[in-house]
């Protein structure tokens, strides 16, 4: 009862605003950026289609660890998203709707995720969830979101769980999956370091497992001399690093989160262990790791340069690439947003995902339902170009995100230098191929311009 009456009030309010805007001679922004995409019509044609989609707003929600063990770094992602959505809103929004971005803290505790996502869906009435962070956390709400038919776009995790259109028709991945990343890393090590004795340092969940599965497709079992795992939250990694050292591994590959990059570096320093390091994309953000290193060692080790010589992978531009047009765009948007702090890789991640979200909203047409949004991603998503180096794999039978990445090595200044061309692959037996397309520059306006599908 109360919900219905509240919705009625908001619809009435929206209608009043729309009429008064029309009375004042219409909206000047209707052609600014986002509104220009297909779908036709003007603000007057906007209709409320259901929860989260009113005549002049669309509400997108998400959950992130803003407090607790996973918060360092990750808590910055939603501020990046906020900056990009603010920018789009200032330029007229999408189809004359302002994007409202509501995110909640789950402290990386699945119980909390379950509570806050229900709050977002039932109380805040979001149109879609975007970029919910973490494998164990988001796993807790998959059933709920798919039962309630809430679009669950672009989960912030490379687990293979999200690519299951048959059972989870509303859930989509975004970043390159860990298995594909493992394959690309494995092939590079097999070709460039055939004599290396490889030790694996893995997070004890899908992240580590998927990565290991990919790596083992290209590295022989006898080349991998040791596998060590860690549990997120347990900050003593000394035993694992000592075991890697004892096994004689001279090349350590980590599928771990940024704090564990810093922790393994410090543990290895204590043990005088100096293998060649490789951290998968998740664990490598040099600015974040650098500051964590400084904090953990109380100043003894500092700066991103501590990561010189380390390998990683890359699928979106990073802040060290100051000449990249996307980074320049995001830098400008970040500065304009007036939020505290500097542009970091995690914020670039949030902005890049927000860019994809705007593409999805444009493709879904002027008055979409949740199902229209899902259909738009399936139909058009594979053709979207943006900050990501390689295309998405979206279709009606695939909900997997970015298809590839390149291998990168940090130089003495902490700047990543590409060691391979862009490589694309997929889970399972798919070959690793060189990507034949070119990364594109951002549009002049900084806002995508996708046609509405259907």
């Amino acid at each position: 009862m109360t919900r219905n009456s509240r919705r009625l009030v908001s619809v009435l309010a929206a209608a009043t605003i729309a009429t008064s805007m029309a009375a004042c001679g219409g909206d000047d922004d209707s052609d600014g950026g986002g509104g220009g995409g297909g779908g036709g019509g003007t603000a007057e044609d906007n209709e409320a289609t259901g929860p989260g989609m009113t005549e002049d707003t669309v509400t997108i929600g998400s959950h992130y660890p803003l407090t607790g063990r996973a918060a360092p770094g990750y808590s910055e992602i939603p501020t990046g998203v906020q900056a990009y959505f603010d920018y789009v809103n200032a330029n007229g929004g999408v189809y004359d709707r302002q994007i409202e971005w509501v995110y909640r803290d789950d402290g990386y505790n699945p119980t909390n995720t379950s509570t806050v996502v229900r709050e977002l869906v039932l109380e805040e009435e979001v149109f879609a969830i975007m970029g919910g962070l973490g494998t164990p956390t988001h796993n807790a709400v998959l059933d709920f979101l798919n039962t309630e038919e809430v679009p669950d776009l672009f989960v912030s995790s490379g687990s293979s769980l999200w690519d299951d259109p048959e059972n989870l028709p509303y859930t989509f991945g975004w970043q390159t999956d860990y298995e594909s990343e493992g394959k690309i890393i494995g092939q590079y090590i097999a070709e460039e370091f055939p004599d290396a004795k490889v030790g694996l340092f893995l997070q004890d969940d899908d992240f580590g497992e998927d990565g290991e599965r990919g790596v083992r497709q290209y590295l022989d079992d006898d080349q991998i001399v040791e596998v060590q795992t860690y549990t997120s939250g347990n900050i003593d990694v000394g035993p694992q690093i000592a075991a890697l050292q004892a096994s004689g591994a001279d090349f350590v590959l980590g599928f771990n989160t940024p704090p564990y990059t810093a922790l393994t570096q410090l543990a290895a320093r204590d043990l005088n262990y100096t293998p060649q390091w490789w951290y998968s994309n998740v664990g490598s953000a040099p600015d974040l790791v650098g500051s964590l290193l400084g904090a953990f060692s109380q100043g003894a080790v500092s700066g991103a340069s501590a990561l010189a010589g380390i390998y990683t992978t890359s699928y979106i531009p990073t802040v060290d690439q100051v000449d990249d047009p996307w980074i320049q765009l995001f830098q400008r948007i970040w500065d304009e947003s007036g939020q505290e702090g500097v542009l970091t890789n995690t914020r670039v991640y949030g902005m890049s995902m927000a860019y994809t979200m705007v593409q999805a909203l444009q493709a879904a047409g002027r008055n979409p339902t949740g199902d229209d949004l899902v259909a738009a991603v399936e139909e058009a998503g594979a053709d979207w170009q943006g900050p990501a180096f390689t295309p998405f794999r979206y279709s009606s039978d695939r909900h997997a995100g970015i298809s590839g990445m390149s291998v990168v090595q940090f130089n003495a200044e902490g700047v990543g230098e590409p060691k391979t061309p862009l490589l694309v692959t997929d889970t399972g037996d798919a070959e690793i191929e060189e990507y034949d397309g070119e990364p594109i520059a951002p549009p002049e306006s900084g806002i995508p311009d996708e046609e509405a599908v259907g």
């Binding site: 803003l66 939603p78 803290d105 699945p110 229900r118 709050e119 039932l122 796993n139 059933d143 004890d204």
Partner: protein, 392 residues
């Protein structure tokens, strides 16, 4: 503990010794037993049945008059309150401390998850059966821990049970083939029956989105009421009195023929059973059993709920659990909407304010919410009795 016996005419209120004050709520005579006129029946069982019926009516009213999201939060309150109820019996009555009840909840939750983990085409076992199994499994673990716990006191017991809270969830990682490691086991929520959909529609007109969550909330609250009915009867029975004797006067209790160890183990087993049911309810409310849900901080928040609400009282445990669920989000909203903080800032500061509130409560109301109110009532009644007798 004061060595002198509490004067009989003034139960629970006379001594200033800290433990007596802290458990004051638990010592208050049950309604009707103090010679006061009361509308409630004198027989404990009847009185508790009446409270149960009233509680059920209030619960239905509460669930139907609030929005769906609040329903789910009430479900959260329910499982925390069940566990806190068991803990308040253990700590408030029998005088043992446990920092490991979160781990016992994990046992209940994982049992539920494993039993409900069947193919989509198959019919899962009935929920009552699953819950009973969860309670049985946790009782078993509780008995094992209880035997060890009966030999330990104070900080040693706290340490041992804390080890349980830290260690037990680790088993889920070690045996990750069965328990699916860090990611945990997802749980298919129980399907709501047809009659429920129809009844709710008639009651409040709610349809569509999230009705299943409402059904789960009803199950949770039902479990809360039933478990509190059992716990309340236990606490007011001979067993409850024996536990109080064990807590207050070990020597006297032993002289009276009470076997301290056996009664302590029994208290641990009963509270473990409650924790098991709480875990089972958590599993269907959250729809996931994962180690991340059962960090030591869960055990600590249970203890917080018990202490804030009033040690040794079920009402206190319920109130404390409600605070655990509703206070932090309220503080975050306050920070965000009133003080115009960013989401991350608001979340972080909510912990600070929450901690401060706890400290302030402990300083000014060491008997907890319910205990303080009861103490005040007792004092007033005693003062009135004094003036009356002075006049007469």
């Amino acid at each position: 503990m004061s060595e002198t016996q509490t004067p009989t005419g003034d139960p629970g209120a006379a001594s200033d010794a800290a433990p007596t004050t802290a458990t004051a709520g638990a010592n208050a005579p049950s309604a009707g037993a103090g010679g006061r006129r009361s509308l409630l029946p004198r027989i404990t069982l009847l009185r508790h049945l009446l409270v149960l019926v009233v509680g059920a009516a209030v619960a239905v009213l509460l669930l139907e008059s609030t929005e769906l999201n609040t329903n789910i939060k009430l479900g959260n309150v329910a499982y925390l309150a069940i566990a806190a109820g068991g803990l308040t019996l253990l700590t408030g009555l029998s005088g043992q401390i446990s920092l490991g009840h979160g781990a016992l909840m994990a046992v209940g939750a994982y049992t539920t998850a494993l039993m409900l983990d069947v193919e989509r085409s198959e019919e899962p076992p009935s929920l009552a059966l699953v819950f009973l199994a969860a309670v049985a499994a946790t009782t078993l673990v509780g008995a094992l821990v209880g035997v060890a716990a009966a030999r330990l006191h104070g900080p040693y017991l706290a340490g041992a049970t804390l080890a349980l809270a830290v260690g037990l969830p680790g088993l889920a990682l070690y045996f990750s083939d069965t328990f699916n490691g860090e990611q945990g086991l997802t749980i298919r929520p129980p399907e709501r029956p047809e009659w429920f959909t129809e009844t709710v529609e008639q009651l409040s007109g709610a349809t569509g989105r999230g009705l299943n969550d409402k059904w789960v909330a009803y199950i949770a609250v039902a479990c809360l009421l039933i478990s509190y009915f059992f716990l309340a009867n236990l606490m007011r029975s001979r067993m409850g009195r024996t536990w109080r004797a064990v807590r207050d006067q070990e020597v006297a209790a032993e002289l009276a023929g009470i076997s301290l160890g056996a009664w302590r183990v029994l208290a641990f087993v009963v509270s473990a059973a409650a924790a098991g049911l709480a875990g089972a309810v958590l599993a269907i409310v959250v729809q996931l059993a994962a180690p991340g849900s059962f960090l030591p901080v869960l055990s600590l928040s249970l203890l917080t709920a018990v202490v804030i609400g009033g040690l040794g009282t079920l009402t206190g445990a319920l109130l404390g659990s409600a605070l655990l669920v509703f206070l932090p989000p309220w503080l975050i909203d306050l920070g965000r909407d009133v003080f115009d903080m960013e989401e991350a800032q608001a979340s972080q500061s909510s912990f600070v304010v929450y901690g401060l509130l706890l400290v302030v409560t402990m300083l000014f109301a060491p008997a907890g919410l319910v205990g303080t109110i009861r103490l005040a009532l007792l004092r007033r009644r005693a003062a009135r009795a004094l003036t009356r007798s002075g006049r007469g």
